[in-house]
């Protein structure tokens, strides 16, 4: 086998310019794919991280039917104390969960005593919330990063639009599920940077304040945001939790809970999927580049070496070895393209990171591009290039191995 490699490499070096051109084409393809995957992947991960870690959490549990009406923030679909206890018992026993946070979500009227506007509010336990969505505190651009009872965090746009600053008193008025209207005065203790996606322009108050505004006699929960120890196990754990919660039935024998991952709750998931689709097509382009360039060069190689093929076949080289000889040539070209491509690609990604390129996402501005190279991507790209190189070599190699030596020797 070593000799087949030696002959293959020497044959490649025999046509230096052609080999260089083909290897360069593969290299460019690999570099392009690697850089695209790392940049788009980093962008996607950053956005997913931003959404899950500052608003949604990795997944959420609601009362069955709540998400279908989530735009209305229905108070009559809140979880009741008994259901909350059952849910907490289950969540407390899941080792995959690092934190969870119960929320009361409702819509109300925000008044600065001069004018009013609408506001969506989350009643939270601050400690639990910050463990479940740890980037929430970093969105507080003015004021305290700790939410106390009687305080409210309001979104930046509301602060600017209503000319409300930290320390100002405001009033929140809301209608509870029975139709009773109630109001409560709050002090603005923080202004939140807006974020893209659902919940990105919500305000936050303490959960006990929310209960008071809504005149709840007992604890009622709209949703529970859940954070996992390992985000990579989201889908597996989601199925597990869904399975566990589906066994919790109400008096009518119907499931009490529903589980949704961030993917079901955020429209950004479609953008993430678009990035994945684009990545797939970029990879497909790489496959096409490798397939066409290697096949082209190998067809040329076979055509130019017909007499040599005739000679080696005549002196007794078995068809299988002739096939291997050409397949190994394609394999070596693929290896060369993949290795050089990976080296250049990684270097380019390092340079991109050193340049600290910034971009904007929704209201978030000046985000620094941090392209990461995933070793699994490098392995996958390299394997794709090498496998496609071998596949592309098969047809010309098969043709060479099936040549009649007598015909090949006659070739001029």
């Amino acid at each position: 086998m070593g000799n087949l490699f030696k002959i293959a490499i020497r044959n490649l070096l025999r046509y230096k310019r052609r080999t260089l051109l083909t290897a360069s084409l593969i290299t460019i393809g690999v570099v392009f794919v690697l850089v695209f995957i790392s940049v788009s992947g980093s962008f996607k991960n950053m956005m997913v991280g931003s959404i899950t870690d500052s608003m949604l959490g990795h997944m959420q549990v609601h009362k069955k039917g709540y998400v279908a009406s989530i735009e209305n923030l229905p108070l009559n679909l809140n979880l009741k104390p008994e259901a909350i206890t059952r849910l907490e018992n289950i969540l407390d026993n899941q080792p995959e969960i690092t934190a969870y946070s119960p929320r009361i979500k409702f819509g109300g009227i925000f008044s600065n005593f001069v004018e009013t506007t609408n506001i969506r509010l989350n009643g939270i336990y601050p400690d639990m919330e910050l463990k479940s969505v740890p980037l929430l505190a970093s969105r507080v651009i003015e004021g305290k990063k700790k939410l106390d009872k009687g305080g409210i965090w309001i979104p930046e746009l509301l602060s600017k639009g209503m000319k409300v600053k930290v320390g100002d008193a405001i009033v929140v008025v809301a209608t509870n599920k029975d139709g009773s209207v109630n109001g409560k005065q709050f002090i603005v203790t923080g202004v939140l940077e807006s974020a893209t996606g659902p919940g990105g322009r919500d305000g936050y108050i303490h959960i006990e304040d929310a209960m008071e505004v809504l005149r709840m006699e007992g604890m009622e929960i709209s949703e529970v945001a859940v954070r996992l120890k390992d985000f990579g196990k989201l889908n597996t754990f989601s199925k597990k939790l869904d399975n566990l919660l589906s066994k919790e039935l109400n008096k009518e024998g119907k499931p009490i809970f529903e589980v949704h991952t961030w993917e079901n709750l955020s429209p950004f998931f479609n953008l993430a999927r678009m990035i994945d689709v684009m990545t797939f097509f970029i990879k497909l382009m790489l496959v096409a580049i490798v397939l066409i360039s290697i096949m082209n060069v190998m067809i040329m190689a076979v055509y130019e070496r017909i007499r040599e093929i005739g000679t080696i076949a005549a002196i007794g080289t078995l068809p299988g070895k002739i096939l291997n000889m050409f397949v190994i040539e394609g394999f070596c070209l693929g290896i060369a393209g993949a290795v050089i491509g990976n080296i250049v690609g990684i270097a380019l990604i390092l340079i991109l990171n050193m340049l600290k390129i910034t971009f904007n996402f929704g209201q978030q501005q000046g985000l620094i591009l941090q392209a990461n190279v995933n070793p699994a991507d490098i392995v996958a790209i390299s394997a794709t290039v090498i496998i496609v190189s071998v596949i592309a070599s098969l047809q010309p190699a098969f043709k060479a191995s099936r040549m009649e030596p007598i015909e090949a020797l006659r070739h001029v």
Binding site: I7, E308, A314, I315, G316, T317, I406
Partner: protein, 234 residues
């Protein structure tokens, strides 16, 4: 026992609607360690006959036995294996592999066809390099040596597997007379040293004179056999 037995072998080619009879019922026997030449004008069937003997092609009719094997019944893979183990080839255009050195060209059949231990392989190649006088050029590539030297390397490559038979189709056609004569002498020397049968085709009358048995072909038929007295070792 004869090394080659041909009984009424015929070869036909079809070119479109026309059938060309290249060989018309040839019968002959060649003994081991012979030095045989097939002579005749272009189109007489020399190359076709050598291709049949070399298992590169099959007769349309008749029986051809080479080294005790009826070549008509060998499939593609068996033919290749048979050639690798029993037959050496010397080509008119030398046909050395340009990416391999002189040494590697001679080594090639041992690597691809026979699996010999490295020590045995080196011993055999060095002996042949010495025998054909190419030891000093062992690391040169084919484009760095002359035509005569290339043909010497081709002779060594043909002999390296210890074949029973070496076939040479017009081995001197691309060489000047002096070099051609040297190559024929080398082939004869190798025959004496390794007891290998050499069969070559030529239309050069001066070279023909060096053969010990001369078969004359004309229009696909065997027209004569001449045994040079005192030269036939077979």
């Amino acid at each position: 026992m004869s090394l080659i037995t041909a009984e009424n072998i015929q070869k036909e080619y079809k070119t479109g609607e026309v059938t060309v009879k290249a060989l018309k019922g040839l019968s002959f026997e060649i003994e081991p360690a012979s030095f045989v030449s097939f002579v005749g004008p272009s189109g007489s069937g020399k190359t076709t006959l050598l291709n049949l003997i070399g298992c590169l092609d099959k007769p349309s009719d008749g029986k051809l036995t080479v080294a005790g094997t009826d070549i008509l019944h060998l499939d593609r893979k068996e033919s290749a294996s048979f050639r690798g183990n029993n037959i050496g080839f010397i080509f008119q255009d030398f046909n050395l592999l340009p990416v391999l050195t002189v040494y590697e060209n001679i080594e090639y059949p041992l690597l691809m066809v026979q699996s010999l231990p490295v020590a045995e392989r080196n011993k055999r190649i060095n002996a042949l390099l010495e025998a054909v006088g190419m030891t000093e050029q062992r690391d040169k590539y084919p484009d760095q040596i002359s035509g005569g030297q290339k043909q010497r390397v081709a002779v060594a490559r043909a002999l390296v597997t210890n074949p029973k038979l070496v076939l040479a189709d017009e081995p001197t056609a691309n060489l000047d007379h002096k070099t051609a004569y040297m190559v024929i002498e080398l082939m004869k020397k190798m025959r004496d040293e390794f007891k290998t049968t050499f069969i070559f085709s030529t239309h050069d009358q001066k070279i023909v004179g060096e053969a010990e048995i001369i078969y004359t072909l004309e229009d696909g038929e065997l027209k004569g056999k001449e045994v040079r007295v005192g030269k036939n070792n077979g």
